[in-house]
């Protein structure tokens, strides 16, 4: 029998993607596309600009400059490969073992090699597109600074392709082995914990090493030692090192075909080995992937604890809150993100503690107040990101069960109420801890402490409402993975709206805080006068409007949902 071509196997995915674009267009999505393109371009320009300045500076430094540029590229490529391996492991689990088209493909007379290559391609594309886009401004900056010329672009692509293929093969192979050892659904749980634990560990380690010390000249003992360290490759066996050598060789007019040859031959060898492993292990792994749903469930913990606390609430609201809390803690992919969150909070507080603010007293007071004030914006941004991850998808995740909610006499206000408070209360605790601890670490006065705590409460209530409101306005009912929902267009609009809110509140509050700083500087007593009260009222009104309006709009949108 003639086997279908690889393109034929991949065609449904391609056509689905095209159809999605067409549907988006017919729904008037060109505005969306324009906004996404603009944001993407702004990001590219930002990355390019920063790197351009760094590389320009490096280029001006004799001897050490090119070494630093190469080292930087090596580090970037190495981190990309590390990210890609993790991302490929997770994506391969879906594309090789949990995808809906597998039943059709596996039952059809499609040979193992085509299946492997098709799924490897799918995995590669899904997990690498973002990294691929990220490398464009980075390599463009290298190309421009080192005058790579027109040929640099195709050369860079030639170098990059095997660098993307290698992690895809390694990630898929790791997943294949893991699925053979554990059931696929358990593997997904396990992976999410490992991946987030590893990411958290790396961030923590990087921060605890205190890289800012390297910027202090007294940190270096000997320049020659430093150059020697730069000359030594991280490891001659790492593909990132070959990639760096290939690119830097081209840019510095010392082309060497060996690194490129190494990259391509290793990629080819890895694809072959990956295919062989797939032939041996896929069938068994795929069978195991059909099993493995969790059966036993832990007792009645939530009913006896939270259920008791919520007893005064009407039964519908109480059961809704209990249901949401249970679903969250039983889904490993959800709660495991709390690991990363905890690490980020520790790093955040560590950064505040490490700020060199207490060198001279008068400057200290101003900077302490300024940092404490700006911390509101930063904490607000952190809270917005958390809300994007946990509150924004709340309405979308009800989509498949909406038949039940809409056919029951449940008032949608109760649903919204429960979603709002289940998301807001933990966020509020975190907000108060972040702001309170930061202010204690900064040793701010009682005025800033009160302003900070009250403002962050108002901001948190508004941020959560915006997340829920925009989540209802831009629902993603078809997405099963909650982690993908915030990366949608609606997620982007929500983040932009939140940044606007933070900016508006900070500008309003600054008027009052500035009056306080002036009073302290002039040695006058701090009096909460009409001016301050007016600005506090404006800030409170902005927060109140940003809380009530999105919830109202969200409710109206939910009432119009059809399934």
């Amino acid at each position: 029998m003639t086997q279908p071509s690889l393109w034929h196997v991949l065609q449904p995915k391609w056509r689905t993607a095209l159809q999605r674009i067409r549907e988006e267009r017919s729904r008037g999505g060109s505005g969306k596309m324009l906004l996404l393109t603009l944001v993407g371009l702004a990001f590219w320009v930002g990355v390019y600009g920063v790197l351009y300045r760094i590389l320009k500076y490096f280029r001006g430094v004799e001897e050490v400059g090119p070494l630093l540029a190469a080292k930087l590229l090596g580090l970037v490529l190495l981190s990309f490969i590390a990210i890609l391996v993790l991302s490929n492991v997770i994506t391969a689990l879906s594309s090789f073992f949990l995808a809906k088209d597998l039943d059709l493909l596996v039952s059809a007379p499609v040979d193992w090699l085509r299946l492997y290559l098709a799924k490897l391609g799918e995995t590669l594309l899904h997990s690498s597109w973002m990294v691929g886009l990220m490398t464009v401004p980075i390599l463009a900056a290298y190309g421009v600074i080192y005058e790579g010329g027109a040929l640099f672009a195709p050369y860079a692509v030639l170098t990059l392709v095997p660098l993307l293929v290698l992690p895809a093969v390694v990630g898929s192979a790791l997943t294949l082995i893991l699925v053979n050892a554990f059931p696929a659904r358990r593997t997904r749980d396990l992976l999410s914990i490992i991946a987030l634990g590893a990411a958290g560990g790396v961030i923590l380690l990087f921060r605890l090493v205190q890289p800012e010390r390297l910027a202090r000249p007294e940190g270096f003992r000997n320049l020659l030692d430093f150059i020697e360290v730069l000359r030594t490759p991280t490891s001659p066996f790492l593909p990132s090192e070959w990639g760096t050598k290939a690119i830097m060789g081209f840019l510095r007019d010392t082309p060497d075909p060996l690194p490129l040859l190494l990259l391509w031959s290793t990629a080819a060898a890895f694809v072959t080995l990956g295919a062989m492993l797939h032939r041996e292990l896929f069938a068994q792994g795929f069978t195991k992937a059909q099993e493995g749903a969790e059966r036993f469930v832990r007792g009645k913990f939530w009913r006896w604890t939270l259920g008791w606390v919520l007893a005064p609430l009407p039964v519908a609201k109480r059961e809704f809150v209990l249901k949401d809390v249970r679903l969250f803690f039983r889904d490993t992919t959800q709660w495991s993100q709390l690991i990363l969150l905890a690490v980020l909070v520790v790093v955040y507080l560590f950064n505040i503690k490490a700020l060199p603010l207490r060198r001279g007293e008068p400057v200290g007071f101003f900077y302490v107040t300024l940092v404490s004030f700006l911390n509101l914006g930063l904490a607000g941004f952190v809270l917005a990101s958390i809300a994007a991850r946990f509150i924004f998808p709340a309405v979308s995740l009800e989509g498949r069960q909406m038949w039940l909610l809409r056919s029951s006499p449940l008032d949608l206000r109760a649903l919204l109420w429960s979603k709002y408070w289940v998301g807001t209360l933990p966020l509020l605790v975190l907000a108060l801890l972040l702001t309170g601890f930061t202010n204690v670490l900064l040793q701010v006065g009682p005025y800033m402490m009160v302003v900070g705590l009250v403002a962050i409460c108002g901001l948190t209530l508004a941020i959560a409402a915006l997340a829920l409101g925009f989540g209802a306005l831009y629902p993603q009912f078809e997405t099963e993975n909650a982690a993908q929902i915030p990366t949608s267009f609606g997620g982007l609009v929500y983040m932009m709206a939140t940044i606007a809110l933070l900016a508006a509140v900070i500008v309003a509050l600054w008027q009052a805080v500035y009056a306080y700083v002036r009073a302290v500087y002039d040695g006058r007593p701090v009096v909460v006068d009409g001016w301050m009260i007016a600005w506090f009222t404006i800030a409170a009104a902005i927060c109140a409007a940003a809380t009530v309006i999105p919830l109202r709009i969200g409710l109206r949108k939910m009432e119009s949902f059809e399934f």
Partner: protein
């Protein structure tokens, strides 16, 4: 009584349900028949308050489902064709949650849950997560959830799909008893034997319109079908010629 008045549903330019009116009296098991895409599911979802009609209204015991949804929905139990439930809840937790949506709690609910799980042979699975349930078990769980608040009306879309013969028989008995006690069931089905054996009255839908309704005998009389079986009648009204063509294609 379930009453549909000039019910219409448009999806863009496509008319899924075209100005239908129907009365389902109390104590009747009403069969809703029609080929795929005839508009049955859309109609049932409008009755359940999940879809908003483009025109017309749905009354459940006198209450408009869309204008006055809470009292209307309190009387209704809806069973969809696709059993989507919260995978990370146990069967018992899911039923307690649904009871809560209808404002019910306490020991009476616990007893009712135990009773329903026992009847549908899910008692030994009550503390297992729903993700471990088979399709049929999920379907049984959803049927239990529709009965938990003792509704007056049951609207059910393809109830027999995924059920084993024992559960299918059990469901038929439950519906018959429910109707005998004054309840009303509106049931869409493709299984004509089930409709013929169970339903007091039927309606046949085609292209969004009701093309026939009444008892099976009424429909036979209306369409001069003599003593044709319900299957023959159904094919006559919904395009049986195509079936004959299909048989030829398959080489029959």
């Amino acid at each position: 009584m379930i009453r549909l008045e000039n019910l219409t549903k448009h999806y863009g330019s496509f008319v899924a349900v075209d100005d239908i009116s129907l009365e389902v009296p109390r104590g009747v098991l009403y069969g809703f028949l029609g080929p795929n895409g005839a508009g049955k599911t859309t109609t049932l979802r409008m009755i359940a308050g999940i879809l908003r009609p483009t025109e017309g209204r749905v009354l459940l015991g006198g209450d408009d489902v869309h204008r006055d949804p809470i009292p209307a929905k309190m009387r209704l139990g809806f069973i969809p064709d696709r059993p989507f439930v919260y995978d990370k809840l146990t069967g018992a937790e899911f039923l307690r949650f649904v009871a809560g949506l209808y404002g019910q709690e306490g020991e009476a609910v616990d007893r009712r849950i135990a009773e329903l799980l026992e009847v549908f042979e899910l008692a030994s699975w009550k503390d297992e997560l729903v993700e471990a349930y088979s399709h049929g078990m999920r379907q049984k769980l959803i049927i239990s959830s529709a009965l938990i608040h003792r509704p007056e009306y049951i609207v059910v879309d393809e109830p027999m799909v995924g059920l084993d013969p024992k559960a299918a028989r059990l469901l038929k008995d439950i519906f018959r008893q429910f109707v005998a006690r004054g309840g009303t069931v509106l049931m869409s089905t493709h299984t004509l034997e089930v409709a013929e054996a169970m339903c007091d009255r039927i309606a046949i839908m085609q292209h969004g319109k009701i093309v026939a309704d009444g008892t099976v005998d009424d429909v036979r009389r209306q369409h001069r079908a003599g003593d044709a079986t319900l299957e023959e009648l159904f094919l006559k009204l919904t395009g049986g010629a195509r079936v004959r063509a299909l048989v030829e294609v398959l080489g029959g």
